[in-house]
Every structure is written in structure tokens, then in C-alpha cells.
């Protein structure tokens, strides 16, 4: 039973730590430390330590989100307004290279690095994980359809029977690998973009 209790407490502290993201590091550590001390004291106070008792204890402590909101207010941290740099970076990184080959992606990188909404680690992830954004898969896709001669050239009204999948050679072994590669090249930039959007620091220091 005690391991279930430990798990509940551990999850709670993990959630709290995540909600406090964006607070100055020292404040965040201090709060998490104090609240884990509180939990230790409260557990020592319990008559019997069962799952329900631990849940009640954590309920009394309150939702981590609520504690984080309180911390933001007490420390004078305003919710971050997402600015043009962040929006620009999130748009230009995946599709900038498609709109404006290479240069568009590069603009995204510059915006990513001048914004203070991300940590250096996140900026490195954004830079290294998908160089070029969706430019590469789009370019590969265009090349592939041009070289195989299927896809865009057939007009459906004139030759419906030619405009189905059988028009293109069914993918052999290599074809399947190429498809998998292209899918990955599409997915990685999209997933990275979602990751960056979620990792944006939600708070900034409004006052001292």
C-alpha cells in the first residue's frame, strides 16, 4: 500500500513541478521542497496510511495548477503574452522553408533564438531536429511524383480509369521505405512544432 501512496505523492510533486515551470528556478525549487516537506509531515500525522487518506491529504493541499497560479500572483509573474516572435517561429520553422525555400526556415530559426520563451535546450531541439522543416519532404514528394510521372498530370474527366492508384507503379520494397521516410520527415517537424508550442514559458517576470 505504501508504494501506491508513494506513487501518488510522486505524481503530485511531478505535476506541481511542471506547473511551476517558468518561475525563477530558486523559487520553484523552494516551493516544491516546502510542499514535499508538508506532505511528509502530513503523512506522519495520518492514523493509517491508505490510498484514500493520501488522496484526501493531496486534495487538501490543492490542485498543483491552483498553487502555481497563486505563486504567479504572489511573485508578480504575469502570464506570458505570446508575441509575434513566438508565433513567427512556430509558423516559419515547419513551413517557412516551403514558402520561401531555405530562407524561410532560417527566419524561423532566428526568431526561435531571439525569443526568450524557450530554454537553450528547447532551441537546440527546434534547430537540430528538423533542419529545413517541411521543405525536405515536400521537395522529395515533388521529385518522386515527377520522376514516376503519376499524380498531377492526369485530368480526371478525360481519363478516369487512368487516374487511380494503378496508374502509379505499386510501391515495391524501396517504395515502401521511401514512403516511411517521407512520413517520418513530415511527422518530425510537426511533432517538434507541437513540442515547442507546449514548452513555451508561460510566465514572464512582470515586476520585481
Amino acid at each position: 500500500m505504501s508504494s501506491t501512496a508513494d506513487k501518488l505523492v510522486e505524481d503530485y510533486l511531478k505535476r506541481l513541478n511542471a506547473e511551476l515551470r517558468g518561475l525563477p528556478r530558486a523559487r520553484r525549487r523552494e516551493l516544491v521542497d516546502e510542499i514535499s516537506e508538508h506532505i511528509v509531515e502530513a503523512r506522519a500525522d495520518l492514523e493509517s496510511e491508505n490510498e484514500a487518506a493520501i488522496r484526501t491529504l493531496l486534495d487538501r493541499l490543492g490542485d498543483p495548477e491552483e498553487i502555481a497560479a497563486e505563486a504567479r500572483e504572489r511573485f508578480g509573474l504575469a502570464p506570458r503574452k505570446v508575441g509575434w516572435k513566438e508565433v513567427g517561429a512556430l509558423i516559419m520553422l515547419p513551413i517557412g522553408g516551403v514558402i520561401l525555400p531555405v530562407l524561410g526556415w532560417f527566419i524561423g530559426i532566428v526568431l526561435l533564438w531571439v525569443s526568450d520563451a524557450w530554454s537553450t535546450r528547447d532551441k537546440l531541439v527546434g534547430t537540430l531536429l528538423f533542419p529545413g522543416g517541411l521543405l525536405l519532404p515536400v521537395a522529395l514528394g515533388v521529385l518522386a511524383s515527377e520522376s514516376s510521372g503519376c499524380g498531377t498530370v492526369v485530368t480526371p474527366q478525360l481519363s478516369p480509369e487512368l487516374n487511380n492508384a494503378s496508374n502509379c507503379p505499386p510501391p515495391d520494397g524501396t517504395g515502401a521505405w521511401e514512403v516511411a521516410l517521407v512520413v517520418m520527415l513530415i511527422l518530425v517537424p510537426l511533432v517538434t512544432t507541437v513540442y515547442l508550442a507546449r514548452r513555451m514559458r508561460r510566465m514572464s517576470i512582470a515586476t520585481a
Partner: protein, 114 residues
């Protein structure tokens, strides 16, 4: 109760909570858990115990309270809080103002009930 009243009460609670913390520390030093339970036991003061810790951190940063680590009879050391001179002065100042304010509000809102 209408929503705006809820918000008002939440604001009033929030604004006065720090003086309740200072009051609890006026006569003795207390460690975090003890302090928090002391506040939470009074109905209507705090809804979530955890939200008191950001306040304690803020009070310490503002120099109204200070904390020291002390051994506990059992378990890990505890962080004890006590008032600083600045905290004591802030509490005294608030007490005077609060009495005036409370009496003034009572003067109007309690009138019809008597």
C-alpha cells in the same frame, strides 16, 4: 451568492491572509506545516493548504518573516518561520487600520439587523 461577490470575497481573503500568517507568528515561531494547519482549521480562510507556501515565500522575500532550520523530534529538520521587526511593524499597522475599516463597515452593514 452572485459571482462578483465570490470574486470580492476571494480578493479580501487573499489580501488579508498575509496578516493572518503574521498574526500566527506574533507570539511564537512555527514550522510550515503547523502554520498551514493553523490557518486551514479556521473555516473560510483558505481553501487549499498548498497556496499558503507561495505566500510564505513572498513574505520571506519581502523581509517580513525569516526562517531557520531546526531539528525535529522525529523525521527531517523543519523550516521554522518567525516575524522580523519589519513584519511586526507591518502587523501592528494593519491591526489599527483593520479595526477602523471593520468598524466602519459594521457601522453600515450591521445597522439593519439590530
Amino acid at each position: 451568492m452572485v459571482a462578483s461577490q465570490d470574486a470580492l470575497l476571494a480578493q479580501m481573503r487573499r489580501g488579508t491572509l498575509q496578516y493572518c500568517v503574521l498574526s500566527l507568528l506574533a507570539d511564537e515561531e512555527r514550522y510550515g506545516f503547523d502554520l498551514v494547519r493553523g490557518l486551514a482549521e479556521t473555516d473560510g480562510m483558505v481553501t487549499s493548504e498548498g497556496t499558503i507556501y507561495p505566500l510564505l515565500s513572498r513574505l520571506r522575500r519581502d523581509g517580513l518573516v525569516e526562517s531557520t532550520w531546526q531539528e525535529s523530534p522525529a523525521g527531517p529538520p523543519r523550516r521554522y518561520y518567525r516575524l522580523t521587526d519589519g513584519g511586526r511593524a507591518a502587523l501592528e499597522g494593519f491591526r489599527l487600520e483593520w479595526r477602523r475599516f471593520r468598524d466602519a463597515v459594521d457601522h453600515f452593514v450591521e445597522r439593519t439587523e439590530t
